[in-house]
Structures are given as C-alpha cells and as structure tokens.
Symmetry: C2
Subunit: 431 residues, 2 copies
C-alpha cells in the first residue's frame, strides 16, 4: 500500500501548516491593506483556456493536461493564477480598476528539487484596468512592504521592462524572434552565461550577436542613476523610451523603498504574456531563485474580453518564502498545536467534571483538550508534553471535593490552585 503522495507533491503536518498559515496571513493582510479583494477559480480549466498563453515549452513540458473521463474535453490543472483570473474577469462586469488577490495552488511538472515542487502555492495581487506606472509602483510597494513584514530585510527587487529589452535588441541587433531570446536569457540563474550562450546558438543567432546580448544582459544598474545612460545610448527608439519613462516614474513613486530596487537587463521572466515592467525578488543570502515576481501584461485579458484591459500583477511563491525563511532563521516550524490548555483527570468522576469544564473553556474562546482515550493521568501529561501545550489543568480527588482546579504553566513551571468559578478570568490573565 502506497504511503507517499505522488512524486513532487507534499503533505503538510500541523507544524508545517501552522507556519504556512502564519506566512499566508501576513501576505493576505498586506493585500487587504493595499485594497485588494479575494477571488477564487477552479483548480482545472478547459485546456483551450490556457493554450497559447504561456509559450510552447511551458505548455508542452510543464502543464498537467488530461482528458475529462466523461466528455471529449481536455482539462489542465492551472499553471498560474493569472490566466484563470483573466478568463474570469472577462466573463463578468467588475468595476475597474479591478484589484484582486488570489492565494491558491498551481501545478507545474518541474523536476523536483530544493525550492521546486510540482504542487505549490502562489499568492497573487493584480490590478486590471490601469496602464499607468502608479499601478506597477503600488504593486512593487506592496511587494517590498510584504517582504519586510515577513521579516526579510536583505533582498533585491530586480526590475526591467520588456520594451527596454525589445527596443535594445531590435535597434542594436535586429532580432526577429525576441521571445526565443527571452526564454534563453530567463534561464541565466539556472544555467549561467555559458548555458545562455548555448541556448542562443540553438535559436540560430550568430556568435557576434550572442556576445552583444551577453554584454547587455550582464549590466546591472543601481536604480537611481543610470537610466540616463540608457537614454543617451538608445534615444529615438520608441520601445526603449517608453520603457525608461515608465520605469523612471515607478522608481520616483517608490520613494524610500527604491533602495531595494535594481534595474537588471538580464531579467526577462519566462512567460510570453508580459509586455512592460517585470520584476523579481531575490534574497541576498539564500540561493533559491526568486521568491516573488511579477509584471505587466497589457494584452492578455483582451484575448478573452475582446477589448484591451491593461493589467499588472505581483506574485509570491509561498513555498520558497517558507524554505528561505527557515534557512535564514526567521521562521521555524516548531509549534505543533494551537491548543492552549489540556485538562488531565484521574477518574471517571473527574472526567465528567472536566468534560463540563472543557465546554466552558471552549465557549469562552480558549483552545482546550481533554482525554478521549481513557488514559492514566501520567499518559495524559505525557501527551500534553509531546504537544508542548502551555497550560495543564489537573483535576484530582482534592479538586473534586473542594470544587477547585490546579493550574500548571508548563513553560514557567508555576502552579496555582484556584476556585473553579475563577478559571476563565484567571486564564485570560495568563494567556
């Protein structure tokens, strides 16, 4: 009998979940503060909803497609939360700007490795309806705010604009199939400059062109200074100028937070649907790839809506954030229960007394447990210890006779005997 989940899929024990829920609630709290509201879509869509949105390689090698067992339709598990949102948005008359968040799973047939799973959670915030840098700036502000709230402080937001790359490559290099070039550059983190060169050779570019591409993408600018430098070098190119103007306005709006941003011409992001600014958050101390990323996709929603809706969005990789946070020591998964109080009993009579008490505790909002296995008092205490439940209430013969409770704080090793009718007030002070 198989005991494991499918390869690349994972189970989450209470300790993992308690940490995940904490991380997700910090992200969700940010989304709500910034004025985003929740939506949800199915885990699977008709395959034709996805087809042609991500690029051939992704669609053929990374997506879970299968035939509906009951119809002649093909389904696919969602690869991201953006395309299903675009499809949903187009089906409804939401007021714009439509600012939505969506925290949910996606599926990608990646080779399982550190920081990469086949089933993982994304937390996305998107703005539909605004073509302006204000929208991108708000999302970058939100992204940086969230990283700081999560407890990260050493990270860089790599920022680029697809129009910048497109303009430079068109003007300088006269490339036709820029998407193939982007996909090659996108693998830089994984395969290094030599690997990118190899990929570009497969695209059919000359050595000369390849060397110019490598030269361009190996430049990184600190955010404030060097957009001027680009303007001088490529003035007159419409795409470059539009990209620079957009990025300049974004950086201006970021205020203090611009110190986290670095303009990086090697950042492309793999998906075909991006059209303007793109960004990724890279941690300084953990070589895990990006933990968040996003960008503008002004043409995607029009495919469904039949009318152009400019759009931009940011996305957090929940697993990567957790793995990285554990590694640098800002998170740990050592809390195994939400339970605050365990009541131990020494007899069936004490159990009846405790059974009523536990109801009172729960009705007062405490998380409380009681023995359900008719165990000895010692075994009950062992269970409370294993679970690291902070408060143990003991009900023995003396407590029963005098209508008292003995309360023990496992963490401080303090002990009190109190009247039963004082218990709620006492525990409220204690917890």
């Amino acid at each position: 009998m198989r005991l494991g989940p499918p390869s690349g899929f994972r189970d989450f024990a209470p300790a993992d979940m308690i940490l995940r829920k904490k991380v997700i609630s910090i992200i969700e709290d940010s989304f709500i503060r910034y004025g985003y509201d929740p939506i949800e879509t199915p885990v699977l869509e008709y395959w034709e909803t996805f087809k042609g949105k991500y690029g051939e390689e992704t669609e053929n090698k990374l997506m879970y497609k299968f035939k509906d067992p009951w119809s002649d339709k093909w389904f696919a598990l969602r690869f991201d939360l953006t395309v299903p949102m675009a499809r949903f948005f187009a089906s409804k008359a939401f007021p714009i700007p439509f600012k939505r968040y969506h925290i949910g799973r996606v599926w990608r047939h990646e080779r399982p490795q550190r920081g990469r799973y086949r089933e993982f959670w994304q937390a996305d915030a998107d703005i539909i309806g605004s073509e302006y840098p204000e929208a991108d700036a708000e999302l970058l502000d939100l992204t940086i705010h969230t990283m700081l709230k999560l407890g990260f402080n050493k990270f860089t937001v790599k920022l680029n604009d697809r129009r910048l790359l497109k303009g430079i490559f068109e003007e300088e290099l006269g490339l036709r199939d820029v998407l193939a070039t982007y996909r090659a550059i996108d693998k830089l983190d994984k395969i290094g400059y030599d690997g990118v060169k190899e990929e570009l050779r497969k695209v059919g570019l000359s050595e000369n062109t390849i060397n110019r591409i490598i030269e361009i993408i190996s430049t990184e600018f600190s955010s404030t200074s060097s957009l001027d430098h680009l303007i001088e070098q490529f003035s007159g190119n419409e795409n470059v100028e539009a990209g620079i103007k957009h990025l300049t306005e974004i950086i201006d709006l970021l205020g203090n937070k611009k110190r986290y941003v670095s303009i990086s011409l090697n950042l492309v992001r793999g998906l075909d649907y991006y059209t303007g600014p793109v960004w990724e958050v890279i941690l300084a101390d953990v070589p895990l790839g990006s933990v968040a990323g996003g960008g503008r996709y002004d043409d995607l929603i029009g495919i469904y809506a039949g009318k152009k809706y400019p759009a931009t969005g940011t996305s957090f990789g929940v697993e990567r954030i957790i793995d990285a946070g554990k590694e640098i020591g800002i998170f740990n998964a050592d809390k195994v229960t939400y339970t605050q109080i365990y009541i131990t009993t020494i007899s069936r009579e004490a159990f009846r007394y405790a059974w009523n008490l536990v109801k009172i505790l729960r009705n007062s909002g405490f998380s409380a447990q009681i023995d359900l296995m008719r165990r000895t008092e010692r075994k009950q205490r062992e269970y409370a210890n294993k679970k690291n439940i902070p408060i143990v209430i003991y009900i023995g013969p003396k407590e029963l006779a005098e209508n008292k409770l003995t309360i023990y704080n496992r963490r401080t090793n303090e002990r009190w005997q109190i009247d039963k009718n004082e218990v709620i007030e006492f525990l409220r002070r204690l917890l």
Copy 2:
C-alpha cells in the same frame, strides 16, 4: 474563446469570497477551540491510494481519474479528505489521539444541480486513535456548536450506528450483502421509499424482506427515549448491543445539546468505510440534503498503517452551508470589498500628497485605496460608491494649502475637516 469554467465548476467573485472566508473562519475557529490542528495533502493522489475505499459505484462513476502525462501512473483528484489523511497519518509517527482538521476542495462527478457542484469545499475534523464514545461525542458537540455559531438554529442531527443496522438486518433478515442494502437506503432522500424498494429489488431481495427493511428504516426515535425499545426487541445480538451502548454513552455526554439529535435507522451514509456511529445534519427549512455529516471508520487507517487505529470524524459541506444560509437569510454576499478608505484627489499635486497619505494609512493597518487611473474626482467618487467603501477622504486645493483632510462617512453622511496629522487617531475612532 471560452469564458466559463468547466461544467459544474465555479468562479468566486470578491463578494462570494468575503462571505466564504467568513463562514470558513467560523468553522476553523470552532475546530481550533476543540483542539484540532491543521494538515494539508495534495489535491491528487495515486489512484491505487483510493481504490477500494469508497465502494465500486463511487469509484467508477464519481471520481476524476486520469493518467499522469509523464509516467505510467494513474492519478485521481481526491474525493474526500478522509482517505488522503489516512494515507498521510500512516506515513508519519503522530502522537495519538491525532486530532486534525483539514479545510479544502474535493471533486465529485455529480450531476450539477442546486447544492451540488463538481468541485466543492469540505471542512473536516477527525480524531485518530480513540475507540471510545467520548471521541464521537466531542465531534457531535463540535458539529452542533459550529452550526449554532454559524447562525443556524433549526436543524436535526440524524444519528445511527452501522452496527445497529448490521445487527438488525443480520438477525431479522439474514442479509448477506449489507453494503448493497446500505447503498440503496442511502438514496432515500433522493429517490424516496418507492425508489429504495426498486433498488433493493435489484440487489435481489424478496418482497417480504424489502417490506421489513422499509418498516425498520421508516422508524425515527427521539434521542432520549427509545433506545430501550430497540434493546428489548433485539437483545442478544452483539452488534445491536454494541451500537446501542455506544449511542447511549454519546447521547449522555452531549448534555443539553442532545435536543438536536434524533436516532434515525434510515441513515446509513454512502461510503463503505464507516463501521460505527454515523450522523448527518439536516436543516429544518431548506430541502438541500445534509449540510454536515460524519462517522466512525475504525478499519480504514489500518489498511495503510498495517495496524488498527480506530478513528472518527465530522465534515461540513461549505457550499451547502453557504447556499442554505443565504436562502434562510442568515448570510448574504453583499460586501464586495474589504477596503475601508478611498482617497480622492483633484490634481497631480494632490495625488502626490495622497500617495504619501495612503502609505501612512496602510502602515497603520487600514485598508485603503487611491486612484490608479488618473481619473477625475467625480469618477473616483463613483468608484468608491460602486464598491460601497465606507470612508472617503477628499484632498482638494484648500486641503493642500492648509495641510488638512476632508473625511466623509458615506454611510452616515457625516463630514469632517481635520488636520492631516490627526488622521490616524480620527480614523481609529471612526472605524
């Protein structure tokens, strides 16, 4: 271009989600108070993990099975949260009792209709490791507590015990294939007594036997009185006696809450894995089927663990609860945003002033929005109205000149002009 999700699947707009999250958080709060901790498992499992656990009809007609596109393995989307938990529990050494909750989606190829979807959410709480009525009683207490917290007060918990049915049918009727009989009885709500008769004929039972079955299952008892009556009628049958003893202890432990319980011999629950008490929550005023249900499955975990672990669990159908709550008027989906404050501006200069203000509001914990579309002040106000955002802050020339803010409470129609540096304190009092 398709705009809909697959047939039987649904999208959730912000208004739906805000209601769902409220309902789920009430359920989750109950689970935590009663001492249950969260787990999560993948949405899909190897098919062989599920095979033989639910019964042939379910496995052939209701489960989404498909071949992994990359391996020779068959996968299936999970049909419930119980079997994946059993598989997971067996793979780890959790301390017992293992009290876990799991709130997540399941997939069933049902015919889409009112209250029935192909993708829906279950919220489950289970106890692994206790064979005692205390465990079932705690889950029933939790179930009733949660229904009341959700705002329902007219409901019945139908309670039965598989051993009771088995004993009666064995002793009285000498049936062999009790599972086939249960499956027929389980359809009572959908197909009525005549339909059940028809199904039982297909099982191959005589008219005489069928009539006895109908007679037995049409009896309902109020919880307190009539177990005695059953004991007299079927004394000596081991199954009947075990079932009655277990039910009697459960009802005794329920105390006041037993007024919601009714012993119903026609309640069987469709799944093969139940072995002892089974229950379902039926609303008095909404003919939607059960909104929650559960039972004991002492043999399921042993299949994976190789060792018997008695277990029992309760499960809420989130969609049914929401649909029913909307119908009887205790829920509505009229809140379309979490946003508390919208800042309107009349110029680019006012926008820069507001852009700093909105950061301050967000840092202070408020949910706030600002114009991202360079709209007129009138259009901005229209947006705030459409979203029903309670507070609007206006920044015009006078406000800019005097470092003031005009604050408008859309709900009470009140208006104040305040100093900018008083805003946080002012809004804290207001919201």
